[in-house]
Symmetry: C2
């Protein structure tokens, strides 16, 4: 493949970003953001589905590009430039997903893969026009906030579902679109973004969610969720 600099018209010094570089930046950002943990080389390798040495090599390259901070054997962090690139990719991804669901009638569980490819192919112009056409949405179909044109992102006060204490009452805010099982679980039990529920039990990592019934709806059944799934959801605590 050509030394492909993916989409043209990138705003600043991102001309050098290849598809891979974009993916690495986005993944580092996601790991740090979603989990709040410090990013290790092996976590990155596992998430991206590449070997450990590949990560080392890429980190050297991205450090030279000024996108990551990485001293040997130390954890990995994005620089400001790296974060900008990551946020630009997140913006692309989420706008594309919103569009696929709204206008091409994709299911919310189908959009991830498609967006994953498209986000590397579209231009800055495209993103801006799409944003305009969609009416500057602030949240994508999975409840994830969409960075604005200035790449700022206002996260609501949310918590990973797997970290919520038992007996808490919560509102479902976000689902990680990269975890099909999580989307499927919510879909089959008819639990949409914004649904209220009580966390009734926690044992061995699993969580049981009791949806609070809404006026005019039949009582939904309890849902048992594995750790992998509760790790892919974010909720806000009520009261």
């Amino acid at each position: 493949m050509t030394p492909r600099t993916s989409a043209q018209g990138r705003s600043t010094a991102f001309h050098t970003a290849t598809t891979s570089v974009e993916d690495y930046a986005k993944t580092i950002y996601g790991l740090a953001e979603w989990d709040g943990a410090s990013v290790t080389a092996s976590a990155l390798a596992k998430t991206l589905g590449v070997s450990n040495p590949s990560v080392t090599l890429m980190m050297r390259k991205m450090a030279e590009l000024g996108l990551v901070e990485h001293r040997p054997y130390a954890p990995i962090a994005l620089t400001d430039a790296g974060r900008q690139l990551a946020l630009a990719m997140v913006r692309r991804h989420r706008l594309i997903e919103t569009w696929l669901v709204r206008e091409l009638r994709y299911g919310w569980d189908e959009v991830h893969e498609e967006a994953e490819r498209l986000e590397h192919a579209v231009s800055e112009t495209f993103v801006d026009r799409l944003d305009m056409r969609l009416g500057h949405p602030r949240v994508d179909p999975h409840g994830d906030p969409i960075p604005g044109p200035d790449l700022t992102l206002n996260y609501p006060q949310t918590e990973l579902l797997c970290r919520v204490p038992a007996a808490a009452e919560v509102r479902l805010e976000q689902v990680d679109d990269g975890v099909p099982d999580a989307l499927l679980a919510l879909d089959t039990h008819r639990v949409p973004i914004g649904a209220h529920a009580t966390v009734t039990a926690t044992e061995g990592g699993d969580v049981v969610l009791s949806p609070t019934r809404t006026v005019g709806e039949q009582a939904a059944e309890d849902i048992r969720l594995t750790h992998e799934i509760t790790h892919a959801m974010r909720v806000s605590l009520i009261r």
Copy 2:
């Protein structure tokens, strides 16, 4: 870049097609189709903007994949499989352009580059849904016919403008979206696809086009077109 097999969900044996292979197939098809000439290695190299040896190597590869017929030192031709791939790419390209113009308010002179990148990133599913949303258009914004889902293509009886005899009366049918000057010329002189005109003079390859004035329109001025531009337009002869 990964041995990227571009978009998933390709119908038949195209799983092996990389972005480059797709571009080669499309270009070979375009050269053979638009000009009706036999495709030489150097013509291909020039059109694709690569060196001659690169073409040789790629032809070897594509011959092994069963996409082209190519004996050393002989001209290049697509096999049936190769033509299928090319038509699939043409379909993608033209549907995407139609969509960009209709729904994202792109100018018809802006869409080519964007479509060029997107066509390698979208899935079969995406193409089908786009086709449905657009109402199964049969022609793109440049007047080029769009292959149907079965990849058949009905060309109207057209002729390259540069080959039309002087004093002929013609109807503008297609413009090659890859030639910005042609699009610009038509745009500035307000000559849309479907316009009628008389070819009033031909000298040294250049052509002068006298638009036939339509009811209620002011008489348009004559337009002088270089050979490069008349080579990028197709017309049907009236009577």
